[in-house]
């Protein structure tokens, strides 16, 4: 990372986790991380390793066990959480909640607020849903609306917790591409937690990889792949490395590696190249790196057999 770029969020020897009366459950220790302007960072790691907890801590919803986070404020960081919103609100009303930090008690929206909300809805292409109720939307549309709400908060930093969970391939790709566009075009610092390895590797500028040693590895996607860091983290989980699904004829491996709930609803039979190329930023690099990941992954699986 370049030294002179401003860090919008920075952690200083941060430890996160939960405490209750009897014990302390530390999930990550001694983290020194930062988020940079204009970069899309994918935060990867298996389920239950503490991705959500770290995001909650970075956004100030939860206090750190030790250490500190700089830049925690509602006007600096907005979040998209996994919480379901079940209120009887229209899309416009929901997005307008993003303006709350700037509104007085009587929540009267100014023309400026209206303009911001309109612009945010256009950015995520949900303008036509303006007056629909939240409960009428599909899961993908709800995620888009939630992202629009976070954008309406006009913060330089955007944290998203599993925005692609439970969505089909089209929606996942759309969301990741949208986030990438937002980071590069509007210069936001965006952190996305996900366990979609394939999408993350292609869209992100930087990867945070949660390890089982309560630390987080960071680096360029390609570097981490070449270092074999992913294999190490995910090998115990039978991780869902989706491009590998093209090798469906190797039935045994298939059954071993994928749990049913992680299978997407579409695209199962596509060849991995077909799945990868439409959204890869650079066909060359994709073709260069994917065989390596997949090759390494399957060699390991084969050895286990």
């Amino acid at each position: 990372m370049e030294e002179n770029k401003p860090f919008l969020v920075q952690t200083n020897h941060l430890s996160v986790g939960y405490t209750n009366r009897t014990s302390t459950n530390i999930l990550f220790e001694n983290l020194n991380l930062s988020l940079e302007k204009g970069k899309l960072v994918c935060f990867m790691g298996p389920n239950g390793i503490g991705k959500s907890t770290l995001i909650r801590t970075l956004s100030g919803l939860q206090s750190p066990l030790r250490g500190s986070v700089s830049g925690v404020s509602v006007k600096n960081i907005s979040v998209v959480l996994t919480d379901r919103v079940e209120a009887n609100l229209s899309v416009f009303e929901f997005v307008s909640f993003g303006r709350y930090p700037y509104l007085p008690w009587h929540i009267q929206l100014t023309d400026e607020d209206f303009a911001t909300i309109k612009q945010c809805m256009e950015q995520v292409r949900i303008s036509d849903l303006r007056d629909r109720k939240l409960y009428e939307l599909s899961d993908g549309q709800i995620q888009m609306t939630a992202i629009a709400r976070a954008l309406a908060q006009s913060t330089p930093v955007l944290l998203l917790d599993e925005p692609t969970a439970h969505l089909d391939l089209n929606n996942r790709v759309e969301i990741m591409n949208l986030l990438r566009r937002l980071a590069h075009d509007s210069g936001k610092a965006i952190l996305v937690s996900t366990h979609e390895l394939d999408l993350a590797l292609q869209t992100s500028d930087w990867i945070w990889l949660a390890t089982r040693k309560k630390t987080i590895l960071t680096g360029m996607p390609e570097d981490l792949v070449l270092e074999g860091a992913f294999d190490e983290t995910f090998q115990f989980k039978g991780f869902d490395l989706k491009p590998g699904r093209s090798f469906t004829r190797q039935r045994k491996i298939n059954r071993l590696s994928y749990r049913a709930k992680e299978l997407p609803t579409s695209g199962r039979r596509m060849h991995w190249k077909e799945m990868v190329t439409p959204f890869s930023r650079d066909r060359k690099s994709t073709l260069k790196f994917y065989p390596k990941i997949i090759h390494g992954f399957f060699l390991k699986e084969l050895r286990k057999l």
Binding site: G60, L61, A87, L89, F97, Y100
Partner: protein, 326 residues
């Protein structure tokens, strides 16, 4: 709607007043017995109705939103039962011969005082707990338990008390808006308006609570503080009304649902005022029914609110299958 119901409520009662006289009196002209009946008896009653209705409904709305639970209502936090407990001690223990209580009970203001005290006692306990407990569901359950506990004490007191006192207490629990004097109305409106002020201040956090505590916090709402403000507001509204009118059932629970059916949004900037108007209208309507127009008899208000309200809520639930949350 509120105003027309208000006028209808004033015009009706156990003594029938000719329409022309009624108009004259309302315009400030008439005198005599009718004038006295209207200004000393019916006006205060109708005013109390409107105040109590909007107060209870607003209290109910705030609780339903805060707990994100459609079944929350002023009874649920145990505030009403807290009032009942102290009033029952006051009225029922009169016969036990403890001098201090006897002296206290003979004072006309004592019931109101006891009810407010009871509500605020429970409310203080709730605030203490609210600071410890993280989620709203736990708080809701605790409120229910406090309510159950206090009502069981009330039952024990009822069981051991004398018939006369029991009747007094029962009349209080049936709810009444007719006994208020102008002075009492001044105090009641002071309490209610300060409670409503708390609710207005809470529009923003109330809306934010619709998204859940985490989102609320992430858009800059101080969750703990706003929760306390909402509890204070609700206690003022419910405690004040219970003190002067007795525990009026159903209004706090049902009005927000009925209003949501009409207004079709959860945005509290719209909802709050609609609920205030809705609560006032509903209680005025119940009061009109309780006077049995055309006859000289009067039904207890609480019975009417439940009789009118319960079927409406059941119909709602069946029609919508589930009540919209928050």
């Amino acid at each position: 709607m509120v105003i027309s119901l208000f006028l209808v409520d004033v015009s009706m009662g156990s003594v029938s007043i000719p329409f022309i006289d009624f108009i004259q009196i309302m315009l400030g002209k008439g005198t005599g017995v009718y004038h006295d009946i209207i200004w000393k008896f019916r006006m205060p009653k109708a005013l109390t109705c409107a105040l109590a209705g909007s107060a209870l409904a607003t209290g109910g709305l705030m609780m339903q939103t805060m707990f994100r639970n459609p079944l929350a209502g002023p009874d649920v936090l145990g505030l009403s039962s807290g009032s009942s407990l102290l009033v029952s001690i006051l009225i029922l223990a009169n016969g036990t011969g403890i001098a201090i209580i006897q002296q206290f009970a003979s004072h006309p203001w004592s019931v109101a005082l006891a009810a407010s005290l009871g509500a605020s006692m429970v409310f203080m306990v709730i605030i203490l707990i609210a600071q410890r407990v993280r989620d709203n569901t736990a708080l809701l359950i605790i409120g229910l338990m406090i309510g159950a506990g206090t009502s069981s004490i009330v039952s024990v007191l009822q069981f051991t008390s004398q018939a006369n006192d029991l009747q007094l207490f029962l009349i209080w629990t049936l709810g009444s808006v007719g006994s208020a004097s102008w002075l009492e109305i001044q105090i009641l409106s002071l309490v209610v308006f300060s409670g409503l002020a708390f609710s207005l201040v809470s529009i923003k956090p109330l809306n934010a609570f619709l998204l859940g505590d985490s989102y609320a916090k992430s858009i800059g709402v101080n969750v703990k503080r706003s929760r306390i403000i909402i509890v204070i507001g609700t206690s003022l509204l419910v405690g004040g009304v219970t003190a002067f009118c007795g525990p009026i059932a159903f209004v706090g629970l049902a009005v927000p649902h009925l209003v949501r059916l009409i207004v079709k949004t959860n945005n509290h900037k719209v909802l709050l005022f609609s609920v205030m108007a809705g609560g006032a209208s509903l209680l005025l309507m119940c009061d009109i029914i309780s006077q049995l127009p055309g006859s000289a008899k009067i039904l207890p208000l609480n019975a009417v609110t439940s009789l009118v309200g319960a079927p409406v809520v059941i119909w709602l639930v069946i029609r919508q299958r589930k009540i919209t949350r928050g």
